[in-house]
Symmetry: C2
Subunit: 126 residues, 2 copies
DNA sequence: TTTCTAGGTTGACAGCCGTCGAATCAGGGT
DNA sequence: ACCCTGATTCGACGGCTGTCAACCTAGAAA
């Protein structure tokens, strides 16, 4: 490991297997234990209102990326707290951060969203 | 309120608004605070490996429903713990339970899954 | 170098969450 | 009536999580 100059690049599993039509949805067959652990981490990251809003603000932001300085003011929360939530989203592979000069910009990782969306595809097992 | 003979019907918000093309996806515009709280509750429910597997086992089960007795044996967890997780999924509106004789059967609520899937639809804001 | 600002890290604290054993409830068979 | 089994609820415990204040780092501009 070791800490680099930019500790903002700690994505755990960039794109497990979401490249193409992949993961059988939740409703097709029981989830394996390992895969459940992996997916639960992503859902848990989205399981907080602040993080969900942060993710949405970043994903919907004009240009596809948002500066942290634009995010902190929106919440009644301290800087460290926002930073913490961004880290959780980062470690879940939902966003990536890049430093440009003084500011840090985050952008969403569409693959992750797509992976989760695929998982929830409805195949009604009547 | 009051407790009926079958306390297994405590769905909080059966189908908020997932009937038709509805909720603007995460990537379209920033999530409102109230909606974020509501959605976070669902994601949080799915943010545990055991619950995710339970949900998957129920949703994918032959006949669309699964008996609790078929679920408890799969995990190295006590009955009360499984029951607790089922309650969380129930209160998130992801599953519903029905007692038939001695056994209790659970089935998934497709609307909820659909609601979440819609939310994650990708509208890449390049 | 020094100073300033934007973010991140650390350490600590309260509250929540997953887990269990024991007790309780609901039905079906004796 | 009694007991047995399936499932939930209750009470408690340890670990995790969201939050903050304080401190530290990265880069830009004097």
């Amino acid at each position: 490991m070791s800490k680099q100059t930019l500790p903002i690049s700690d994505v755990p599993a960039p794109g497990p297997r979401a490249s193409e039509a992949c993961c059988s949805p939740l409703t097709r067959e029981p989830l394996g234990e390992d895969r459940a652990v992996e997916l639960a981490r992503v859902f848990k990251a989205m399981g907080d209102p602040v993080r969900l809003r942060l993710l949405s603000m970043i994903a919907s932001h004009h240009g596809g990326e948002a500066c942290v300085c634009e995010l902190t003011g929106v919440f009644d929360l301290s800087g460290p707290t926002i930073s913490h939530h961004l880290k959780v989203l980062r470690e879940a592979g939902l966003i990536t951060g890049e430093r440009r000069g003084t500011w840090v910009y985050y952008r969403a990782v569409p693959q992750r969203l797509g992976e989760v969306a695929d998982l929830l595809d409805l195949a009604p097992a009547t």
